[in-house]
């Protein structure tokens, strides 16, 4: 059912990127500010298309929303140590790809509580790490790697320059060679004609 009625019993159909649909309660959906802005007052005819996200991701996001329906209103980020066992399990059972998909979906749906917990979790992952460790975690090349990369690029550029120079030289030579037969031809013809003229005049 896709109705604007705001009872918690109301179910909405959600459509994922695969074209699959599934039910989400109105109470859970109302945690999404995007949904509130787009559909709450006008309602939706047919499934609500969140087709940028796959079914597994959307189910995971709305699983969180369903769980936190009865929690008090969101009042800023909670310290990770204060998270419930359910919350911790929820985050721990996701792999990195799913986690990133959930952040992106949560960010699009503007579910403040979930986005904030996810971000706090990433911050916790970075906390206490020194620069080298952070570079590894956030997949940035290290200074040494950057230097090595720059050296390789410089070498490549130097090699390319050499090749270009050589090509230019070769082209120049070819040009001269191509010119030679014409000149030779002219010269040969001229010689022949001279010889002919001389023999003719001698006769």
């Amino acid at each position: 059912m896709t109705s604007p009625a705001s009872s918690s019993e109301v179910k909405y159909l959600i459509e994922s990127s695969e074209g699959n649909t599934f039910d989400v309660s109105g109470a859970a959906l109302r945690q999404s500010n995007t949904f509130n802005a787009m559909f709450l007052n006008i309602g939706a005819d047919g499934p609500i298309p969140f087709t940028d996200y796959n079914e597994a991701t959307l189910k995971k996001v709305f699983e969180y929303c369903e769980h936190s329906v009865n929690e008090e209103n969101y009042s800023g980020p909670k310290h990770q140590d204060d998270l419930s066992k359910w919350d911790l399990n929820f985050f721990n059972e996701m792999d990195q790809k799913m986690f990133i998909d959930v952040i992106n979906a949560s960010n699009f749906l503007d579910i403040e509580r979930l986005t904030s917990y996810c971000c706090e979790r990433i911050a916790r992952m970075l906390r206490g790490k020194n620069t080298q460790e952070m570079i590894k975690v956030i997949t940035l090349p290290t200074a040494e790697e950057l230097e090595a990369k720059q050296k390789v690029e410089e070498k490549k550029a130097a090699a390319a320059k050499k090749v270009a120079e050589k090509a230019a030289e070769t082209a120049e030579k070819t040009e001269t060679l191509e010119e030679l037969p014409v000149q030779q031809l002219v010269q040969t013809t001229r010689n022949k004609l001279t010889r002919k003229y001389l023999s003719f005049s001698n006769e």
């Binding site: 792999d95 952040i103 990433i122 911050a123 992952m125 952070m134 975690v137 956030i138």
Partner: protein, 341 residues
């Protein structure tokens, strides 16, 4: 989400990335800024806490204890972090932060002063308001790079004994200390007070003689420990009467306070003292204090001394405390009348 390798932080949506950066503690955010040019710009582009480096203490075992305050308008006006920088020779440990409690941290680094300078640049905070030594002062501590850190700020020394070499090193290198506070024993035979230069000098142990009080180049001098008797201070006043204003001094002497004075004779003996004359000077002396707001001192009960060069001073001796105020402005603007010491 248990994997921590290869997390594409900078691919996160804007709001999420901002939330992550804002969730980082001040030291992790500094480390993030050092990862790359991009990370530097991201770590520095979101709102930063208003920070102040309260103090840096040079401790035993080459450790540095840095107190950094986060200033808020409400509800809590200030949170102070204590960062213990431990010298380390293991490169892999540089910058590693260990949170001991909510506001207490340990950090390993090979160059604590560089780290503090980096912190100061990233968070756009001025260098530390005060620097303290709980260990020996070494030549390497005061070099061209660190001199800015010591000058124009409060420098305190809190170790058992100071040597003549240490005192000469400090005062030959640093000429712009605002408050110099020594809570250590000064060598008995130390007499190089001419090189002492600071706006305010606070001593636990008074100098060798009462004449040394006049040899230091400062605006305000406070001696807390017992040493002088009233006869010594009578001699001091007589010496002061013979002086004239010296142009070569950096600071104009304004206040001298000596506490725990032993009474052995009449402090004012043979001195041309006069009671307060409202036509000669105001009732309140305008004091300058580096720790509190400016304040005014009621000098109506003090005795005045006029020097031949026209300088007027007031002496107040009360509860074994000797206070000497020199009036370079005879009728100053009165602000706060609370006592300060």
């Amino acid at each position: 989400m248990t994997e921590t390798r290869g997390f594409p932080l900078f691919s996160l949506p804007y709001v999420a990335l901002k939330d992550v950066v804002l969730s980082l503690d001040i030291f992790s955010r500094l480390n993030l800024s050092s990862c790359s040019k991009k990370s530097k710009s991201i770590a520095g582009s979101y709102k930063m806490s208003t920070l102040e480096i309260e103090s840096i203490n040079f401790c035993e075992n080459s450790e540095h204890i840095v107190k950094i305050s986060e200033i808020y308008s409400s509800p809590e006006p200030k949170i102070t972090h204590t960062l213990n920088i431990i010298p380390s020779n293991i490169e892999a440990n540089y910058g590693k932060i260990i949170e001991i409690s909510g506001f207490e941290w340990k950090l390993h680094h090979n160059s604590p002063m560089n780290l503090i300078a980096k912190f100061s640049v990233f968070y756009k905070v001025p260098q530390s308001k005060s620097v303290g030594f709980n260990r020996d002062v070494e030549k390497s501590d005061i070099n061209d790079e660190t001199i800015v850190l010591f000058n124009t700020r409060k420098l305190g020394i809190q170790k058992e004994k100071l040597t003549t070499e240490e005192l000469n090193l400090i005062f030959s290198k640093l000429h712009d200390i605002q408050v110099f506070s020594i809570w250590s024993e000064i060598p008995e035979d130390y007499d190089n007070y001419e090189i002492w230069k600071a706006k305010e000098i606070r001593l636990r142990d008074p100098p060798r003689t009462s004449e040394d009080l006049l040899r230091m180049d400062c605006e305000k001098l406070i001696c807390n420990g017992p040493k002088f008797k009233t006869s010594d201070l009578n001699l001091f006043l007589k010496k002061w009467m013979q002086l004239t204003l010296k142009k070569e001094k950096t600071y104009l002497k304004r206040e001298i306070a000596v506490f725990r004075v032993e009474t052995d004779s009449n402090l004012y003996e043979d001195l041309p003292i006069t009671p307060w004359n409202p036509n000669q000077r105001g009732q309140y002396f305008q004091g300058h204090c580096q720790y509190f707001h400016n304040f005014s001192i009621d000098c109506s009960q003090g005795f005045d001394l006029f020097r031949d060069d026209g300088v007027l001073a007031t002496v107040i001796f009360d509860h074994n405390a000797f206070k000497f105020y020199i009036w370079h402005e005879r009728f100053p603007v009165v602000t706060d009348t609370r006592p300060c010491y």
